[in-house]
């Protein structure tokens, strides 16, 4: 049953990582430049989950749980805004802005938070079962 706690923890870690990726997307919803100052709108990132937990200490543990397999760049095209005064505008006066929709990110953040809670509930249930087993000794 200790394994069950490991599994729920892996779920919490994965959901937190996903929430961090979503936070970065929201924070960079208006980011137009690279860190070195060059013009390149921020690309949306998504955390990709896969079953199994490579960080687990046992063979059985590696097959159960969940982990973030990859953080991928969203290949959707950048949005275009008509801003002829911008120094980054193209010949027709359009500026490319990040392909991030903050509403979508909010919804995803809610889902990640709910999934985190579900894992917490699973961990709590496991803990109460352990307490039951320990009471056998009393």
């Amino acid at each position: 049953m200790y394994g069950a706690l490991d599994i729920s923890t892996s779920g919490m870690v994965a959901q937190r990582t996903r929430l961090e990726v979503i936070s970065a997307n929201i924070a960079n919803a208006r980011t137009m430049l690279r860190a070195d100052g060059g013009y390149e709108p921020y690309r949306r990132r998504t955390a990709m989950f896969a079953p199994g937990d490579p960080g687990a200490s046992t063979q059985a543990g590696r097959q159960l749980g969940v982990h973030v397999a990859d953080i991928e760049l969203d290949r959707a095209p950048f949005e275009s805004r008509y801003q002829p005064d911008s120094p980054y505008a193209d010949a027709e006066g359009y500026v490319k802005v990040p392909n991030i929709n903050t509403t979508v990110e909010q919804i995803n953040a809610m889902q990640a938070a709910r999934a985190y809670e579900a894992n917490v509930v699973a961990a709590e249930t496991t803990k109460s079962m352990m307490a039951q087993a320990l009471r056998l000794l009393a």
């Binding site: 049953m1 394994g3 069950a4 706690l5 599994i7 729920s8 892996s10 779920g11 994965a14 990709m48 989950f49 896969a50 079953p51 159960l64 749980g65 969940v66 889902q111 999934a115 579900a118 894992n119 509930v121 699973a122 961990a123 249930t125 496991t126 109460s128 079962m129 039951q132 087993a133 009471r135 056998l136």
Partner: protein, 146 residues
């Protein structure tokens, strides 16, 4: 005599129930953790199959010596296998998913949590019964020695 202390009455059956519920908790936690993993199809072990197999084992034990003492001849099911150390190894194969979502995941969180609560209750019931049995044993020992 000492060997029979741990295999008296319903203890082996309760032991199997607790082991099963404890191992199944891992399976359910795995399904909860992968609630929104793309392409994940939740799998569980069949409780009814386990119950039937456990019932048959209890009947065999009863036929053998009236069911008062002795190990439980539990042979396991397609998904539940007894291991050498007395534990149970689960190989979930029963699909429990609901509607397939657009990310090819069919997990039903409500059903999953219902399974989890029911499983925890099974564990609790087995643990409570076992505690009653051990308390009775304590009482019996106490009267003889003191």
């Amino acid at each position: 005599m000492i060997k029979d202390l741990n295999s008296a009455g319903a203890l082996p059956t309760l032991d199997a129930m607790m082991r099963f519920a404890g191992a199944r908790q891992r399976v359910i936690a795995h399904n909860v953790a992968n609630w929104d993993t793309p392409n994940f199809q939740p799998k569980d072990v069949s409780v009814s199959e386990f119950q039937r197999s456990l019932g048959e084992a209890v009947a065999r034990r009863r036929a053998f010596n009236g069911g008062m003492v002795g190990d439980l001849p539990f042979e396991g099911t397609r998904e539940v296998r007894p291991t050498r150390g007395g534990g149970l190894e689960l190989r979930p194969e029963t699909h429990t998913g609901g509607v397939l979502a657009h990310d090819r995941n069919s997990t039903d969180l409500e059903r999953l949590l219902q399974d989890m609560v029911e499983n925890a209750n099974v564990y609790r019931v087995a643990a409570d019964f076992m505690r009653v049995q051990t308390q009775r044993l304590h009482a019996a020992i106490g009267e003889r020695v003191a």
